[in-house]
């Protein structure tokens, strides 16, 4: 009934040089993967490190871990630190994207935005101002479909944070696999938890995926938190 891969039907592929706004979690990594599947060149990753834990825009683990991911993917990484104040964050993001444009002559930006109109519209505005195209390949994507796609495409992802009732520390260090998918379907039915975690319910970290040349290994972990807010700090090699 539904034609398969209709988006490739008779289209003329136009290849672009793209930078990916990269957090090290499942969404931005899968967005990068889709860009490469469409034969675009990923010129660089851009990671923003906000000092504000409440940042509306950025959820990024420590710099060292993202560096390891970029190394494994063999893609240059632009690191931008920001104080995390709302408007300063946007200026810093603008600066980082401008840097990617100057250094790598990129044609556009890729993001892992799924639902957040706040995030998506601000990045769209920055791209428009810098005369860059903007790609949001996960935009409005069904959350269970996203998890299934990650599993089917051999993404190895672990849960590094949980921040909503009734999630607790037992969810930390879990892999996104079929059992995780089934459990989140149940959670969604009972508690309306967003299974892909874009509402901030879950933080994830990608240990391996088709973009990487080698899998990252967890060398150390520290768990802290209380009630329904838990974080697992990891070190990877």
């Amino acid at each position: 009934m539904y034609p398969a891969n209709v988006y490739l039907f008779k289209d003329i592929p136009i290849l672009m040089k793209l930078a990916v706004l990269f957090s090290g979690g499942k969404d931005s990594t899968f967005a990068a993967y889709l860009a490469r599947e469409h034969e675009h060149a990923i010129s660089c990753l851009i990671a923003i490190f906000s000092e504000n834990p409440e940042s509306y825009m950025f959820h990024t683990p420590s710099i060292s871990k993202v560096k390891k991911q970029a190394e494994s993917a063999n893609i240059p990484l632009i690191i931008q630190k920001t104080k995390g104040d709302k408007e300063i964050e946007l200026k810093d993001l603008n600066f980082a994207i401008q840097k990617a444009k100057d250094k790598y002559r990129i044609d556009g930006i890729v993001t892992g935005a799924v639902e957040s109109a706040y995030q998506a519209s601000r990045i769209q505005k920055i791209c428009y101002g810098l005369d860059l195209d903007c790609f949001n390949p996960l935009w409005q994507k069904d959350q269970f479909e996203l998890l299934k796609d990650l599993i089917e495409n051999n993404f190895e992802i672990i849960i590094t944070g949980v921040y909503a009732y009734p999630l607790d520390e037992t969810w930390l260090d879990r892999a996104i696999d079929k059992t995780f998918l089934d459990d989140t379907i149940m959670l969604h039915e009972i508690y309306k938890i967003n299974p892909a975690g874009e509402g901030g319910e879950f933080e994830t970290f990608v240990l391996n995926c088709p973009l990487f040349t080698r899998a990252l290994k967890i060398s150390d972990k520290k768990i802290y938190g209380k009630k329904n807010s838990w974080t697992m700090e990891i070190e990877v090699t």
Partner: protein, 178 residues
């Protein structure tokens, strides 16, 4: 059958501007076919009960050079919904004029009459740098900047400048079911 026409020049934009519309149709279990406007055939039109023309990215206005490829709109006697770039096309086919107007993000617009179940103040997601004005269409909704929903005065042609596949999926549901 719904004929969903995509206007994206770069196939990678499919995920943002076409797939969310497909997902609405899949949820309703409605049969559809998605095709780029360069690949349309007369057989597709004869099978289609309705047509939806998608939007595309801010940087991708290449379809504006191909407006003559949409002349079929004047002959097609069933319902057509144009979304963003799709609305530009409807207006331009009927001698409309484009204006540079940029709106990005969530915005409240005002429907002055019922339009596929929406009426009065409504929050919508905007992503455009142009808008179209054509005297052949009645304006059903406006923002502070420009027409947001239009209906042809004599034909079954409807256009929305905002992206209903983001925050107003019901509009697409009602369009395909009405």
């Amino acid at each position: 059958m719904i004929l969903l026409i995509k206007i994206c020049k770069i196939p990678f934009h499919y995920f943002e501007f076409v797939k969310p519309i497909e997902d609405v149709l899949k949820k309703l279990n409605i049969e559809f076919i998605t095709v780029h406007y360069n690949d349309l055939t007369s057989e597709m039109f004869s099978k289609a009960d309705r047509v939806i023309i998608s939007g595309t990215s801010l940087k991708d206005n290449s379809f504006l050079d191909d407006i003559y490829k949409f002349d079929w709109i004047k002959e097609f006697d069933k319902l057509v919904l144009g979304i963003c770039g799709g609305m530009h096309i409807l207006g331009l086919i009927y001698d409309g004029k484009l204006k540079e107007v940029k709106e990005i993000g969530l915005k409240t617009i005002n429907f002055n009459e019922e339009f596929f179940g929406f009426n009065g103040e409504t929050d919508v997601y905007e992503l455009h740098n142009l808008c179209v004005e054509s005297s052949e269409f009645d304006v059903i909704a406006i923002s502070e900047e420009c027409p947001q929903a239009i209906k042809h005065k004599h034909r079954l042609l409807y256009g929305v400048l905002f992206h209903p596949e983001v925050r107003n999926k019901k509009l697409i549901e009602r369009f395909v079911k009405c």
